[in-house]
Symmetry: C2
Subunit: 231 residues, 2 copies
Amino acid sequence: MANGRPAQVDIASIISRLPLFLEVSPAQVQQIAADSRQKRLAKGEMLFQKGDPARGFFVVVWGQIKLAFPSSQGNEKVVQVLGPRQSFGEAVMFMDRPYPVYAEAVTDALVLQIPRKSVIELLERDTTFALAMLAGLSIRLHSLVHDVESYSLRSSAQRVIGYLLQQCPHEGTDSVEIALPTSKQLIASLLNLTPETLSRIFHDLCDTGLIEVHGRQIKIPDMRKLREVDF
Amino acid sequence: MANGRPAQVDIASIISRLPLFLEVSPAQVQQIAADSRQKRLAKGEMLFQKGDPARGFFVVVWGQIKLAFPSSQGNEKVVQVLGPRQSFGEAVMFMDRPYPVYAEAVTDALVLQIPRKSVIELLERDTTFALAMLAGLSIRLHSLVHDVESYSLRSSAQRVIGYLLQQCPHEGTDSVEIALPTSKQLIASLLNLTPETLSRIFHDLCDTGLIEVHGRQIKIPDMRKLREVDF
DNA sequence: CGTACCTTTGATGTGAATCAAGAGTAGTGG
DNA sequence: CCACTACTCTTGATTCACATCAAAGGTACG
């Protein structure tokens, strides 16, 4: 169970602990849980394609899911990597539009699909849920605005530093050690870099003494210094 | 009045015709109108700064407002240029966060400020309004996803072509003439280009015969050809 | 009619991608 | 346990799209 992959899952309890459903009554959570479906995905399996009609939204129970665009040259641009307790696909439910990205399992994974109809019903019944939903979408919107900001006015090295700082506990001032949540390849795509460039940036940051890299373990000897470079 | 600047405005009628308020009852629109404030802005005037606390959202009555980030070197990156009947700042109301961008009048302008409190009250009372709000945020979210896609996997020329196609009526297949909604400088920033690069791209597209440029008037002799290049 | 800003054009520079190997590092199966 | 394949990651050489720098028209407007 250290792999975070319990054989049996209590759907209702998972849903009730999602930020989106914190204020929703147990009875209503039970209803949602009853409406939802579990989907087992093998590593590399597609959950949906870009352009598929949106039937609902998804919650990751365990494993990792990436959202990405295909590019014409067969590359891809990863928009987000989602782990346990994270949800995606909410926004698309409120517009008659297909998914603007595709979703693929990065590792073996289990996701919950919550049908559009259940959500709409709950929205019409429970205004606190509607407010929670609005808050959720707003947060996502902010993070996209932040992405746009990053892409347009920060250098590749600054984006990498920003990413590392995001992964760290915020309060700490001194030495911190973190594990990258996924492969460097994926992180590169997330930051809009090639793997080569990411590797070189890590190398440079090591030379400067700002970080130490051992595989996926990154040690930051002095958070303050890293924050300064981030200006 | 050809300048789109009526001396007197009927706030309630403006609000009632906003996409967000289409389904809202006249009485509630009256309430919102009563709560709202008008703000006159001279060209270049700031409506709010990045980091200001969010007190509500805004609707452009006439004129143009740009949303942008300041960059460290005194440049700026324009995120959006808003014209009459467009609203902004909704998302930020639902999170306890300051504005992530600043808002500045591109031309003399009149905007309506609708206080957070009125919106929250209306949300709690009217579920169709909540759904409209969710739809509105979803659309904004999509367009940001689209921006991220553009920045990360399209060349500068492709972004320009995409922009031009967006400005055109969608159905037409043949010759179209459009007027750029704002200065080329602003459009360049919107597309994450320098003015120089935009100018050169327009020049190239003229050479290829794909467009003709006369100041802010752009003629597209053959929409099909332009769409093909956009692939 | 002059000042201020937008836009164009040209020359040069550079950050990051691409191309091309090699070095780890895992998983797989005999 | 060790080869065998398949990735992921690193490193170096080269290229290219776009920015930057510089200066000269255009255009609007008091």
